[in-house]
Amino acid sequence: MKRAFEIALGILTAIGGFVDIGELVTASAAGSRFNMTLAWATVLALVGIMIFAEMAGRVAVVSERPVFDLVRERLGPRVALVDLIASFVITLVTIAAEIGGVALALQLASDVNYLLWVPIVGLLVWLIVWRLGFQILENGLGLAGLSLIVVVIAVMALHPDWGSLVHQTAHPHIPADVSVAVYFYFAITLFGAGMMPYEIFFFSSGAIEDGWKREDLVVVRANVLIGFPLGALLTLGLMAGASLVLAPRNITVNQLFQSALPSSFALGRVGLAVAIVGFVACTLGAAVETALSCGYMIGQYFGWLWGKMVRPRDDARFHVVLLLCILAATLIGVTGVDPVKLTEYVVVFSAAALPLTYFPVLVVANDPEYMGDKRNGILANTLGFAFLVLVTVISVATIPLMIITKGGGG
């Protein structure tokens, strides 16, 4: 049982990273508009995040120091500061989107306007990061997030033509009524959502919070191999459900309630209730993950004591950062900005900033001074470099694509 809980970090990181408010809507939107022909973007993101999460986790457990700390030391404070500013701003806005996402999910359960839920959710997120220990937090939110497996069960209950779904996935094509730019814009949003920078910081910092050492490398890899594919599976489940239930009815998804309709259609009220619980759990997990990531980044860059393994009175600056970030995110949320749109923009801008996160990880993971005999091998370097080239191309293309397609609407 203890071993089972050891993969909770990977599950929480992946569910928070893959299945946040933006992905809940974007994956369903992709399924309703393109069927499974964009599944490759999620699979590609899965491979990319697994490669870099393994690297970051390995760096953390071998050096017993967090990635951001090493990035600052290895690349110098100026380069690390650019990385810090880009990652921090993107992650801060993501907290706002996720808090709004929890509120939207609670609106579906209560019919109380989401804006009334935003401050309550902000308070809840702060209480969780303030009061709960890291293991309770990762186990509780990771397990609750697993309730979203209902979207996969719903797909199975629909008895789809599996051959057709697999064929669509394996033979991607651009539908006749969709422009190339719109198709690739959606591909980038799915890819970017799976490779959000905070996943790397959270996973590597979480490895230190969990007290993993060099001998726990196998646990790191188990987390990567089980947790992240699970997050991607949930994304593909959302996509497939939308493809089977919403696409035939010409429903284009742009609101959260539409993402729950396939579960309701396939499994009735129970399926709907579990899906809503899953939405709340995943978005809450993402909100907590992003909030902690902001604290981790700042704490590690400035060399403070940080983390949940230290008592709040001993790392007061870390907790002040957390409080201020959650407060700022809540204030953004109560302005009434659409959390779904906000996440879409965050994903696009984070896609533009991906090389800033992944390049330093690749550099540090190759440094024999930190990594000794556990530095990257040929396979990790080849794949890592290939993905670095890919994310660089994406980072150049993403904002022009957003403008050309009017955010995917054109």
Partner: protein, 145 residues
Amino acid sequence: MRWVAAVALGCLVGAACVPTTRDAPTYEAKAATTAEKAGSAVASGELLADLAAAHRLLGPFASASTAGAEAEADAIRSTFDAIQPPDHRSEQLREELDKLLESASSALSEMRITARRGQVADLAGFRKQLRSIGDNLDQFQQDHS
């Protein structure tokens, strides 16, 4: 002279605030896209009605969802209505589509009221009406694409 320049600048800024299209074909294409988007909101309402008929909806979800579909239809309508039709034929097109958009908003609004009263099972009664509106929107889109 300065005030003339200020008035001219004001007119330019004012004109820029009114979404417009250069020509009738562009306006017609936007009308077709609007009908397609509104069709999606109506189809969401129709699916909700189907789920209500099959007792597969929860009360608060039904209420929040119908409100969401209504808000989407209203937003689509107000966005289209803000576009300046370039000629007389486009004005007629606008009137034709506006009637369809109004009927969509109205039906979804009635659904929301019914759901908020807790009469979730009664949502099934909107199926026929929504299907008819959806068919009309689909026909409009095909005619003008």
